[in-house]
Every structure is written in structure tokens, then in C-alpha cells.
Symmetry: C2
């Protein structure tokens, strides 16, 4: 480096975009200055100077740096009319660190630098305020001592307290000029004692020491640790700049003030200055909260000229930054200074409203409007949430298993939920230790679900998410006692009927009804999402299992249904007994008889789905899970049989408890009315129930698998029991024919799960073609149901070319694909080792939440490539949970997919994310 | 096609290599003729003629084909001195079909064509044998009627029987010329009645009808079905040729004979003609088995000149075909004819011996010697097998779970196996319903294992295969009653001590001791395998868990150990209690205490392994399975506790049954002597056992996983409990140091299982480096243990590039990789749907037996490619069960792997397969 190298830039000359050279804060100060804002004069020492200093032997500053500092200081002196070290009219400055990325561990601010015994007197004379002068002086001594010379804060604080106590003063504001003078003197002694030298009187010495201290802090332990921890490389930030800025004071009298403001309301987005200020105060006072600040409106009355200038400042900020600004200002004796500005943080409602309004005002274009909204933040607009202004202590905490908040009367079994919820029309929360498929009617009846056991993938969590109902799972502090119809939390008892509130977004459980904010699907949101659809390449479909889900998804703007899990239909209370009948069937005839009962039900489901979504596509996945999932567990059945045997011994015409009776209602062929909570039970009925449970138990034992995730499921099941897929295919095709007969345009698509070889597809395709021909012949309608496959088995990716010859579309099932790619069982991994893996950075993310691009994504890309080698126009989609995750959606865009499918409430999130993906990869 | 096209080739001119044109049989006849063997004259009509015929409208033969046939027939007449249709000296011929591939469903042979009322008289005159003439005639009428004109065989047979019965004759040989004449006449009537036309008298008409019948049979239903079933495309075989050959007769008197022979002994490989013959008989007579043929040696006495010519023929066959031949001959009145020859099928012993001897004789080169031996056949040489000459009816059948045969006294628990087997020195077979880790001492003591439950992947099967002991698993017909120490099969009871024999190669179980053949690792085999090693690129290593396994693997020629499963060591009877102590530990200290006990044991194991194999590499896999696999199942423990509670109630100093007492010996800290079958049990001991079982039960419940295959195992476990891997790493490194201190050159390699990201490898590598530094410092020896990783998780394939930066070698674990690639749980799949998938050709092979090239193999190739992108010299191996499977080994060669590792007895198979792979991909 030569002598002519520039180490120091005035705020008027530094490049406001060059954060790497000037640090974030320095660049910001330069930019504000250059767009004509009234920033106190100052300059920036570059990060290059810092690196030069650190690289040099014995840490020397560059040869000519201090000379450049002196020259800059002269300019500041000229601009302010003050002199650095001038005993008459001293110039005081602040010294701040600032690297390209803000990071904790860097040096604190030093204020009031330039004060010494002489300039102090000048300052007091200039301001005519002795107390102000000594207050400034004692602050400088402490900050300089602590920050630049490592004098422990506690020693200063002890002296401070000693003077306060001696003067018998409780609040700092009560300290007199005399007290503060004494404190300053004591601080000078502390400084001398601790550093072994007198407090430096030469302002340039003060400055040079401070600059070096800032430089040194870059290699301080906390800063180094932080950079390593968060992977900040020297590409991202290297060295720190030093910002030297003229001090301005908002505490110079009633013509002075200090405040913070947003250019628009960050809570509502309203286009109106929003903020607060304090007259005759310093910035610290606003933070300390000793005095209550006034709303910014008041300024018009108190200082009309300043209010006018502030409005001007606001306009200038927005027209320059094209973004809502969060800025700090100080008024020193009638002059308005802008000290800092940054993009304003807002809630989703405000972000959406300001996006739309700023486009209307011509401040930004639609692309900018879309990109400034974080898709994940949208979600908070789409679920009921607790009013943030209300602070209540939660009673217990569980896992945030399904987002949204709900309040209602606690009920402890599904039948009571139906009774109180559906029939009496009350809001209820279903509280269980854990839920099972037979509780499904309780889910429908309840506003929300709370369990004391199970994780984010427990039955309760998965079903609630599917239904879009709030759920808190695994709140282990709650002990549920179904027999007594109560739950115990700590010492507190929740009885049936007590109102509770759950927040599925953070896992909190509250006693009583906490005020809530309903979701707002505003006009502005709709406009933004329409813009999003215009630029997005990926179409957004919804995962929906019922006509209700479908209708909601439509409201959220879904372009179709990307995944309908038919097994969810099997779990409904009127169907599960038939499904169990099918499973326990010993012969094909028995199984066919059960399937014959299911056929019209499924056909009705499908028809309603098609009608709801017409003319959008509806993608139906054939039965996927291992069939033993429809049966209770072995242990549950053993317990049930045990209980029923006790019941049998005690019944004989007696009235019995509802809780035991509820065990009966799964016996196929028996009719059970959950509303009639107490009824006479015949011995015969109990015997029949025992027998049924025993048949189920035997079947469960036969069907049990070592690794059900890798078991007898999906198309393997469909090929082993062709009558099951046959029923489903017929239901789909007959539903299509029924719609066609009404002249409706519907687009059913069916897809085959768990496929690993094209041969499997051929078998199912043949089945479909035969049934289709039959339905067409019988109804006279030509059917168009499309035939696709899930890609959720690794081998399906490897064989994408050969599968492409059979299928019309591919849908990546990234939940299962992730399990198989990692050899992680999701339920086991999330409970056993995955949190530890994430914590120790062995894996950066939970791959079940964030699509693993390097592994799973690589497989997907290969599948897309090989599939399109055979069919260049092949349509690819994703229907795993990742389909609603913005980062994963961006990957899907890059990987060349055509659509994503996600749960209804995430559809708006996904629409915006799809637009981001398109814009960021233009 | 022009008039000059050649449709017919004389045996003297057809190209013996052109099976596509001439069919397999035709080409063979041409080749034999042209190398100077005495084949009866004849000619071949080409497959082209057949296709021409089938393509033509109304199925017409090519215009000039019959003209060419007539010309060829003239040549035959000249060569034989007979005339086709000549009433004086008639020429008779056979007509046979023959396509490029032999396939059932094609046309049968027609013999004696050319006979009619006139030529019959000439034939009788020529031979002077009326009976011979009528016998030939009636055969011709029946064959022609049946084969060419579709007259049902039964009608002819009924007439034949009618004559026999009328003449009161029981055997065909008893029929007189008169009888046969009557039969011929009746047959002619049958022919007339059934076809509506008289039996054709013109020999050329007979011939043309026969040729067309052969052509038509190509499109017959059976033939078409067969080709579709076995995927025979027109590339492989298209159309059938027709072979027309002069008849020769071995039944023309005592100077005539017929026989079959091998040029060498197919049972032993001895270089000596081997076969049998019948004087004055036809080929059919040898097959019919009515007369007992004579050994070929006898011919020297009976017909010395013929014997000399036969020896000459033998030499000519081998020197031409360079392979042992299985040939048919006929002697007609002192002239030796060769009618057919093909490569001889031999057992493995003979294949190996002949390979070596033929190389010595200069008949073949080493490459040919290697390629002619099928590697899978070698296996039969390496296990004891039942004497094939003994035929005993099996008592029961199970699954062939571990190859080889064994006989011994039945024992029904592991302790009795030790008592009778190890201590009394008797051969025993351990018979159990199913086996568990705590039965392991019984495996060591027994000759073989028989279970009534479980499949090829059951505990019994896996452990037995690992030990190389025969095992029959899942013999469901056997009911094991441990309490009564007996097993019931059908009505039969096997008591303890009864001798049984099991054959693990086919799953049969026999009562008593069936004679056995011991395996022969012959000098010849060693020579062949040495040649194999010379040409192979892949090195063959062995999977071995104990020094005994290792020593055996060495004997089989393993170049090192490719996989040592340390968990197998954990299962030994002296260690399992310590392992359980480690698992149930509640604190790090408790766990460390257990590990401290395991350390010297593991170190000893490793040292012995290293010493046994020195200086070959020994690859040790760190702990892989989920730790709950070392604990009994939940149900087992509940049962045990139940039993122990009963025991507690009844003990109080009484003598109790051994079967309950054996439950005690898993209680850590208690000492139990299985030899002392009856002993006094103290109440205290029982209480302690109950307590221990309860602790285990609680732990089992905590550790239970939904999908253990995808669970908390391998490196995930190693990172969660670093003290476990720490102990194993220390044991390996200290063992290396101990060997080094003795001046031994050893090459330990350690590898990490279940890796999915490089970060995992980094964590373990750091652990290893720290322990290595410590051991080096303490012992003063520099250690060289290499660091590698298993590739058995799909993601590891996708991340092969990044893993390659951490690892020194990769070993594909294709068992787990196959499970993850297919999303098939092996245990579930093989029991539930895989057999059905294979049967219905949805999957061609069981991917757990034959490496799936299209899916798993594709992943492997990507991993090899991406790994070598980073480290071009990276070593790749395979240690799944596929490593011993020839077809999979060939794939490994093509995929560029460096070594395969397989179980000890498969090492020779793999060595030969590796040589084949190299030779076939030269």
C-alpha cells in the first residue's frame, strides 16, 4: 500500500453501497448524508485500515491514517464551527465500531469523546449547564475506561453508588451538578488506579486509543466465537470500520428532543408517521423508560416546524429507500438530525397493506412488492391467534403441533366432544392422553386438540394439521384422568366443561378464554397473491381429504388438489367399522362384502370433491398405509379385552360407566349412540364385543411388522389385495361418470403410492383400464381420469425413466423419500437423535421440515432429468410437507417441478413463495 | 427371394456355428459330420424356409424348396446305396424339428419315414426280420398320425392294447410279427377313420406333410406361450429348422447295439470313458429301462473293434469340442454311428478335476478352464452334504437357512446343547421354536440348528450363516415342547437324545443319521482358485466375526477380512450380561463402568483377529444395531417376570425345574452354571432376577422404535453415546499396539456404519485421532489403523463426494442399501409380499439375494463416480450378502469396485466369480 491510500472517508464522500469497506453503519451514515438528510458531520475509517492494523507486527495503524483522520476532523470542525480540543467551543464526537454484518461482541459506543478538564469548562460555558457538562464528562470517562481500557464497569458503578448513598439520593435524575462533579473526579481516580496512567487529556490521543480499541475488538474472543458459530466467512465480513460522528444532544432544553419513528404504522400498515419522542432527553432515556414518551402526533402542537421537517424527512426516506423506514432522530435546539434509519419490521398485515399501497403510490413495482413480504410471515394472517396485547401466564406447555389458537370447554373423550360440541353447539377442546383413529369424530366436533403424550408426528398432530385445527401435543405436565373426567396440571384441576385456550403456534395452554384475533384474508392479501400467481411458474395445489378441506383450500386460492389421502376417509366414524370388517375378513368373499359397502361411500366422497373443485384437477392417492394402522395396537386391544371381561363379570343388567361402554362402539354391526352416555348394556353385547376385539387382536398379531414404514403398504397392498384398489378405482371412475352425467367438467387424477418398479404401475394401470372400460360401457360417458405415480421410494427415482413410460405425472412424496434417503424413521429420529444432530450442526436443518437439497433434492433432480428424457413434457409435483415450505418451494422451482401441493392454510404462503422463487431465479 | 435361394443344406455343407439358420440340432449334425464323425447322412431345411412358409398366404413352402429336398435326398441315396421309396432296398429317414434354442412344445420326432406297403416288404426282405419290419411300420404310422396329423395317441394305444389282450400277452417284447402286423393294419384304419384319408403311400408326400407339420408347430400354442413366458425374442430364436436323417438301427442283431457315454466320468472327473450300452436294442429301450444296460467297459470284450472305434470317437470329440462330451451312439451291424453330442453335465468335483487335467493335457487353456466352471456349483464342494445315493424320506421341511448338512442328537435348549455337546463331546442339533441372543452358547456347541418358526433372516438363520453352521428354519410342521424336552412332527415324537439329520441346503429334516459326504477342498480346487486369483481384478475378503471364523476364511483363501461385526462379539454368553449392564445404565458413570469391563475383552478379540490374519487387512465395523436388539422383547420379558413371580411363590428352598431356572442366568452379577441342571434356588436370587428383568423391561419400553431398521443405530448411536465408540476405537488401537510390540505387521481398518453426512465421519474421526494419539503416546508405537465408512444409507451415495474427503475407503452395505432403496423391510417383505412379487414377475429376482443393478446398482455406480471425482484412487468394496453372489460380483467388477467381502465358505465361489467377471469383461 502506498502513502496515497485512502483510509478515511467523510460521510459526504463514502460509497453508501460499500458495506464491505465502510461497514454497515458507516455506509448508512454516508448514504443518509449524501441524500441530503441532516446527519451530524463525521467520517468513517475503513475496514481495510482495521485489517492493515491487525496484520501489522505489533498492531500498528497504517502510517498515514491518523494524518487523514486529522484532516477529516478539520472538515468537521469547519462544518460545525467547533474545535476538537477547543477550550472555548469544543467539538465532541462519538466513536462506534461497524462491520459489514452486525454482530454482537463488537465494541460498544464511546460518547462525548473530546472532553477533558479544559474542554469541559468550555462545554459548560457554551451550554450554560454545569450539570449537563459533568454528566457528559462522567459518562465519557466511564465509557472510555471500560470500552477502550478494560476498566471493569463494577468499579465505576460502586463509586457512583457511593456518592448517591452519601447524598442520600435514590434516582439518578436527583443527582446535582456537584454530585456529578464528584463522581467525575472519583472516576478519574478509578481510571488512574486501574490503568496506571492518568486519564488522557489530548483529544487526539483519546481518539487514537479508541480507534485501536475498536480494531482490536474484531479479534476479541466473543466476536471470533460468534463468527465461527454462525459461519461468517471473510467473504461476508472482514474487519470493522470505525465511525466518528459529531455529538448532538436532545437534552439541551425544551427546544431539544429525541425520538424514534416508523414512516408507516408497523401494526396496520396505515400510511401515517408512527412513533414517539421525549422533549429534553437523550436517546438512552427513551430506552430506559423512566419517562413516558409522547405519541409522534403531539409534535405538531409542541414544535410545529420540527413536525413539518419530520414529515419531509419521512417522505425523503421512503422515496429514497422504497421501503418503510424505522429511524432515530434528535432535535438539538431547534435543529432536526437524523441519526439512523433502517427498513422497518412489520407484522404480516402491515407488510401486505404497505406493499399494495406503495405500488399504488408508484413507490415500488409489483416485483418489489412481492419480494419484500416474507412468505412464512403470511401464515400468521391465516390462523386465529392470541391477541398479542394480552399477556397471560400459560398453565402448561406442549409442542406446537398444528398452528392456530382455539378456546373451548375441556372434554376428555371423543363422544363427549360430539355431545357438547356438535349437539349442544358449544366450543370444545378435546383433551386426551393421546388420540387414536377411533377418536376421529371428536376431532370433527372440537375446536382444537390437546394431548399429554406424543410428538409433532403423533396421530393427534397429523390429523389436526390435516384438518387445519389447532393442536398442542405432548404437554407432559398435564395428567389426564378420563375416568374422573378431569386433568391435573401442577396443583390445578381442569374439570370437564372448564374453558381452556390452546395456542398451536407455540404450544401454550391457558386456563380460561384468552382474547383472540381472527385471521384476515384481506383484499390487499388477495391482490398480492394474484400478483404472485402472475409471476410464479409453480402452480400451488392443496392437500385435502374431504370436501370441507377442499372448499377451504379453494378459498385459499388452491389451483386444484394435489393429494387426497383416501385412508383419511377410511378413518371416519361411520366407515372405520366397515374398514375393520374388510381387514379381519378371512376370505375374499367376506372382504368383497365389506368393500361393497365402502364403494358407494367412497364414490360419494370423490363426487363431492370433484364437484367442489370443478374444473380444477383432483389428485387421489390410492390406499397407502399398512392396513394394521386402522386397527388399535396390540396392547390397547389386550387392555380393552381385560376391561371388557371385568365389565362382563359386573354387568348383568346394571348401568355402567360410559367410559367402558365406549369400548363397545367399535364392534362391527353393533350400533352405539355416543349421545346416550348411560345405557343398559346386555351381557350379549359385551360378549360380542369381546369376541370382536379378540378377532382384531389376532389380526393385529398377524399383520404386525418389524418396520411398518418399509412394510406391506401402498401398491404392494394394492397388488396383494387387488379388490381394495379395484374398489377405489371404481369409486373414482363412477364418481367421474356421475359428474359427467351432470355435464360438469371435472379432472380426476389417480396416483399409485410406494411404487418401486414400472411393473407395479402396469398391473394397476391394467386394473384401471378394465374398470374404466366397464364404467364407460355402463354409463356411456368417456372418462379421462389421468394416471400418475408417487415418487417416494428411492428406487422410483432411479427408475424414473422406465416409470415415465407408464405414468402421466409424477408427484414426489418427500416425507417418505426423506425417511428412505436418510434411513431415518421420522417418529424415531425426532424423538431420539435428530434434535441433538441439529444442535451439534451435524445436520443443519431437520430434513423433515426443510427439504434436504444435497441428498433428497439430488435424487429428485435425477428423477426429473431421467423422467423428462423419456417424456419431455412430463408434469412433476411435490406433495410432502415440504410443499408448503418456502425454501423448499424455491428448490422445487429450480429443480424444474410444475406444481407444489400443501395443506390448505399454507396455500397462500406457497403462492407467494412460488412467486419469490420465480423472481429470484429470473 | 430368388429361385436360386438355398433352403436346404446337406450335413456336409451346413455351417456348424450357424444355429440361427440351421437350428441347434441341425448345426450340431453338420459340425459332427464335417469333423469326420460317422453321422448317418442327411440334411437340414433352414429356419428361413420356416419363416417363409409361415409368412406366405395359406402357408405355402418356398417355391423351389421341395426340389432342393429331392436333390439332397438323391445325395443321401447315393451315400447309403438305398432308394427313398425303393421297394427293394428302401431308404428310411427320421424327421425332427430344431430351433436355435431348445424349447418344449416343438414337434416330436417322426421315425422310419419312407415305409409304405411296398417298401415294408423290401425292408423285411433286406433284414430278413419280419417282426422288425412290422414293428418299424407300426411305430411310423402312429408317430406320423399323431405328430403330423393330430390323431390322438390314445386311439392308437387302445388298439395296441386290444391286440395284446386278445393275444394274452403282457409285455411288448412278447408280441409276434403276426401281432405287430395286425397292429399295423388296425393303425392304418385308425388313421383313415380319424383323418378321412388313406395313409399316404408316396414317401415324398409323407415327407412334405411332415415338414409342414414341423413348420406349423413353431406357432403352436405351447411353443408361443413358452417363448412369451421366458422372454425368448426373435433375436434369440426365430422359426424352426427341419432335420432329415437316415435311420440307423441298433436292433439288427447281436452285431448291433446302442448306448450313451461321457468322455470322462461326470461324478469324479476321472479321465476315462464312462457310459452304458445295450446289444440289439434301440435307443428307446435304454430309456425305457426294461433291460439293464452294461457298463461301457464290457464293450472291449463283446465288440473289441467297436470299443477301439469308440475310444477314437471319444478323442476326436474332446479334441474338437475342448469339453467333456455326453454323446449317443448306435452300432448297426458292425458300423459305429454317432447320433448326437453335447457338453457333459458334471458335478463340481468333476468340473474342477477335468478343468485342471484338460489344461495339463493342453486341451484347453486356463481361461477356458475357469470359465467352464459355474461358481455357484462350487458351493456344493464346501459344505458337508447328504450322500446323493441314499434316498430317505424327509420327516419335515423348513427353509434352507444356512447351507450344509449335519446330524446329531436333538436338544431343546442351549444349556443342554452345551452339556451334551461340548461337555460330553456328542454331536447335537439345537432344536428351538426360535432362537434369541441368549442361546448363542448353544450355537457354539451344536452341529446345526433347527427352528420351527422364523424365516431366512431370523436370528437362527443369520447367526448360523455367520458361523457357517447348517440351519433349517421355520419348519412349521414341528411342534417344540421345551418343558417335555421333545418335539412332535405329525404323529412322531422326537425325544431329547434322538438322532436327527438336517440339510440346510434344501431345508429337509430327517429322523436318524443320514450318510453324508464331507466337503473336499481338493488340490485341484486350490489350483483352479489360484488361477482365478491371477486373472481377477476384485480381491475377495471374508466376513468374519471371531478368530475361528477368520482362520476358516483364511483356509478358503480370503485376502483379508472385509467385515467384522463387533456386535456379534457382544452376544457371546460371557459378554451379554455386561452389554445389558451398559444398556440399562442410568448414568454415564454406570455405563462407563460396564464399558471398562468390555474393553479388555474386545481388545483381546481384535488382537487375535489381527494375529490370525496378519499381514492381511482386518476391517472392523463399529457397533451397528439399535441397542435394544441386545435385550429380550417386551413380551418375552413380561412372560419371564410372570414365570419368575410364580417361581418366587413356589420356591422357598425347593428343587425347581431347570427350564425356569435358566431364566435367572441373564441377571447381571449372578453366576449361573448351565451344567448343573437342577440346583437349589434361593428366594433372594429370584427376587433379584425379577428386579433385573423389570429394569430391562422399562428400558426396552423406552428404547422401542417404530421402525428399528431406520432407527437410533450405527453412527447415530456412536455420536449419542460417544463412550461406546470410544471403547471400541480404543480396543482396536490398543490391539494394534500390542501386535506392533510383538513386531507383527497388522493392518486394521475401522469403518463407521449408517453414515449419511460427512459431519458424522468428522466427529468419529476426531474421536479416533484423539484416542490414537493417546495410545501412541502411552505405547510408543506409531499406529496405522485406516478410517473408512459403510455406504448403506442412500444419502451416503448422494454425498459420496463429500464423504470421500473424510474416508480412506468405502464399503457398500448392500443389505441395508437395498432395504432403503426399495423401501422394503427385508423381514417383512420376505414374509409378506416378495414371494408373490417374484412369482408374478413384478420383480424378477429377490433383491436381497441378487443385487438389483437397475436401482441399487445405479446408486452404487453414482457413488463410485462421485467418490473418485474427489479421490481417484479411493478403494471401494461391498460387504452385503451380495458380495458372495456371482452375478452380483460381476456387477461389482463392472462398477469398478476393488474388493468384495462374503461369508467364509462363499470365498472360493467369489474368487472364481471374480475371475469370470474379469474374463467376461476383458
Amino acid at each position: 500500500m502506498t502513502d496515497t491510500h485512502q483510509w478515511v472517508y467523510a460521510f459526504t464522500e463514502g460509497d453508501g453501497k460499500n458495506k464491505k469497506l465502510l461497514g454497515g453503519k458507516g455506509a448508512n451514515l454516508c448514504e443518509m448524508t449524501q441524500i441530503g438528510l441532516n446527519v451530524p458531520p463525521g467520517f468513517v475509517i475503513t475496514t481495510e485500515a482495521c485489517l492493515h492494523y491487525l496484520d501489522a507486527e505489533n498492531n500498528a495503524v497504517p502510517a498515514d491514517m491518523m494524518q487523514q483522520v486529522r484532516e477529516q476532523m478539520k472538515t468537521v470542525e469547519e462544518l460545525t464551527g467547533k474545535g476538537f480540543g477547543d477550550p472555548e467551543n469544543p467539538l465532541l464526537v462519538s466513536v462506534r465500531s461497524g462491520s459489514a454484518l452486525s454482530m454482537p461482541g463488537m465494541m460498544d459506543t464511546i460518547l462525548n469523546l473530546g472532553l477533558n478538564e479544559e474542554t469541559l469548562r468550555g462545554e459548560i460555558e457554551q451550554t450554560g449547564d454545569e450539570r449537563f457538562g459533568y454528566d457528559a464528562y462522567r459518562r465519557f470517562i466511564q465509557l472510555f475506561g471500560k470500552v477502550a481500557m478494560n476498566v471493569p464497569d463494577e468499579i465505576f458503578d460502586a463509586e457512583f453508588e457511593a456518592v448517591k448513598q452519601a447524598a442520600n439520593i435514590s434516582e439518578d435524575v436527583g443527582l446535582s451538578a456537584e454530585n456529578l462533579k464528584e463522581i467525575s473526579e472519583r472516576f478519574l481516580t478509578v481510571f488512574q488506579d486501574h490503568t496506571g496512567r492518568a486519564f488522557p487529556q489530548d483529544p487526539y490521543e483519546q481518539l487514537e486509543i479508541s480507534i485501536k480499541a475498536v480494531f482490536n475488538s474484531w479479534m476479541g474472543k466473543r466476536a471470533v466465537d460468534y463468527r465461527r458459530e454462525f459461519g461468517i466467512t471473510s467473504d461476508m465480513a472482514n474487519g470493522t470500520a470505525v465511525n466518528i460522528c459529531t455529538m448532538v444532544f436532545g437534552n439541551r432544553g425544551n427546544d431539544s428532543a429525541t425520538g424514534v419513528a416508523f414512516t408507516r404504522n408497523p401494526g396496520t400498515g396505515e400510511n401515517k408517521l408512527y412513533g414517539e419522542y421525549l422533549v429534553n432527553a437523550q436517546g438512552e432515556d427513551v430506552v430506559a423508560g423512566i419517562r413516558t414518551p409522547k405519541a409522534i402526533d403531539k409534535l405538531t402542537d409542541e414544535m410545529p416546524e420540527m413536525a413539518r421537517q419530520l414529515a419531509e424527512l419521512r417522505d425523503r426516506l421512503e422515496s429514497h429507500y422504497h421501503e418503510v423506514q424505522d429511524f432515530e432522530f434528535t432535535i438539538e435546539r431547534g435543529t432536526l438530525y437524523c441519526l439512523q434509519t433502517r427498513n422497518g419490521k412489520m407484522n404480516a398485515v402491515a407488510m401486505v397493506r404497505t406493499s399494495v399501497e406503495m405500488v399504488e403510490e408508484g413507490l415500488i413495482d409489483k416485483k418489489q412488492a412481492l419480494l419484500r413480504i416474507d412468505p412464512t410471515h403470511l401464515e400468521q394472517m391465516l390462523y386465529p391467534r392470541l391477541d398479542q396485547n394480552v399477556t397471560v401466564e400459560p398453565l402448561a406447555q406442549g409442542l406446537p403441533a398444528s398452528p392456530g389458537a382455539a378456546a373451548g370447554r375441556a372434554v376428555f373423550d371423543a363422544d363427549r366432544a360430539v355431545l357438547q360440541g356438535k349437539e349442544r353447539g358449544e366450543a370444545v377442546i378435546l383433551v386426551r392422553e393421546e388420540t387414536k383413529p377411533e377418536d376421529i369424530h371428536g376431532f370433527f366436533a372440537a375446536q382444537g386438540i390437546l394431548t399429554s403424550r406424543g410428538g409433532k408426528t403423533s396421530h393427534a398432530a397429523v390429523v389436526a394439521r390435516g384438518m387445519g385445527k389447532p393442536c398442542v401435543a405432548g404437554a407432559e405436565g398435564i395428567h389426564v384422568d378420563v375416568q374422573r373426567r378431569e386433568a391435573i396440571v401442577g396443583g390445578q384441576i381442569i374439570k370437564e366443561g372448564d374453558v381452556i385456550t390452546i395456542d398451536g403456534s407455540n404450544g401454550n395452554v391457558y386456563l380460561g378464554k384468552v382474547p383472540m384475533v381472527e385471521p384476515e384474508f384481506t383484499t390487499e392479501l388477495n391482490r398480492v397473491l394474484d400478483w404472485a400467481d402472475d409471476v410464479a411458474y409453480l402452480r400451488v395445489m392443496a392437500n385435502a381429504d374431504t370436501p370441507t378441506d377442499a372448499a377451504r383450500a379453494l378459498k385459499f386460492g388452491a389451483k386444484g388438489i394435489g393429494l387426497c389421502r383416501t385412508e383419511r376417509m377410511f378413518n371416519a366414524v361411520d366407515r372405520l367399522p366397515i374398514v375393520i370388517e374388510m381387514i379381519v375378513a378371512e376370505t375374499l368373499e367376506q372382504r368383497q362384502a365389506a368393500l361393497d359397502k365402502l364403494l358407494p361411500i367412497q364414490r360419494g366422497d370423490f363426487r363431492m370433491l370433484f364437484e367442489t373443485m370443478a374444473p380444477r384437477p383432483v389428485t387421489i392417492r390410492l390406499l397407502d398405509p399398512p392396513i394394521h394402522e386402522f386397527l388399535p395396537t396390540e396392547r390397547q386391544l389386550m387392555d380393552d379385552i381385560d376391561q371388557l371381561e371385568h365389565l362382563r363379570d359386573s354387568v348383568k343388567g346394571m348401568e355402567v360407566l360410559n367410559s367402558s361402554v365406549s369400548l363397545l362402539h367399535l364392534a362391527p354391526g353393533t350400533e352405539f349412540n355416543p349421545a346416550a352416555s348411560r345405557e343398559l348394556v346386555s351381557l350379549e353385547l359385551v360378549e360380542q364385543a369381546i369376541k370382536t376385539k379378540q378377532v382384531m387382536l389376532n389380526k393385529v398379531r398377524v399383520l404386525t411388522e418389524v418396520n411398518p414404514m418399509l412394510g406391506h403398504r401402498g401398491v404392494r397392498l394394492g397388488i396383494t389385495f387387488p379388490e381394495i384398489y379395484g374398489m377405489q378405482l371404481r369409486a373414482i371412475l363412477e364418481a367421474e361418470a356421475e359428474c359427467a352425467s351432470k355435464g360438469m367438467e371435472v379432472h380426476p387424477q389417480m396416483m399409485v403410492p410406494q411404487v418401486c418398479t414400472a411393473q407395479e404401475l402396469k398391473v394397476v394401470k391394467k386394473m384401471m383400464d378394465e374398470i374404466k372400460a366397464d364404467v364407460e360401457a355402463k354409463t356411456g360417458h368417456q372418462l379421462n381420469c389421468r394416471f400418475g405415480t408417487m415418487i417416494e421410494v428411492v428406487r422410483a427415482c432411479m427408475r424414473a425413466d422406465s416409470l415415465a413410460e407408464e405414468a402421466e405425472f409424477f408427484s414426489f412424496g418427500t416425507n417418505d423419500l426423506t425417511q428412505a434417503t436418510f434411513s431415518f424413521s421420522r417418529e424415531d429420529a425426532e424423538n431420539k437423535f435428530l434434535p441433538m444432530y441439529n444442535q451439534n450442526q451435524i445436520l443443519h436443518d431437520n430434513p423433515f421440515e426443510v427439504l434436504d437439497e444435497k441428498g433428497v433434492g439430488k435424487l429428485m433432480k435425477l428423477a426429473v432429468e431421467w423422467g423428462r428424457d423419456i417424456k419431455p413434457k412430463m408434469s412433476f409435483g411435490i406433495c410432502g410437507e415440504h410443499g408448503g415450505h418456502p425454501q423448499s418451494i424455491e428448490f422445487c422451482h429450480r429443480a424444474g417441478l410444475n406444481y407444489v401441493s400443501c395443506s390448505g392454510p399454507r396455500v397462500p404462503v406457497a403462492r407467494l413463495a412460488a412467486a419469490h422463487a420465480a423472481l429470484l431465479n429470473e
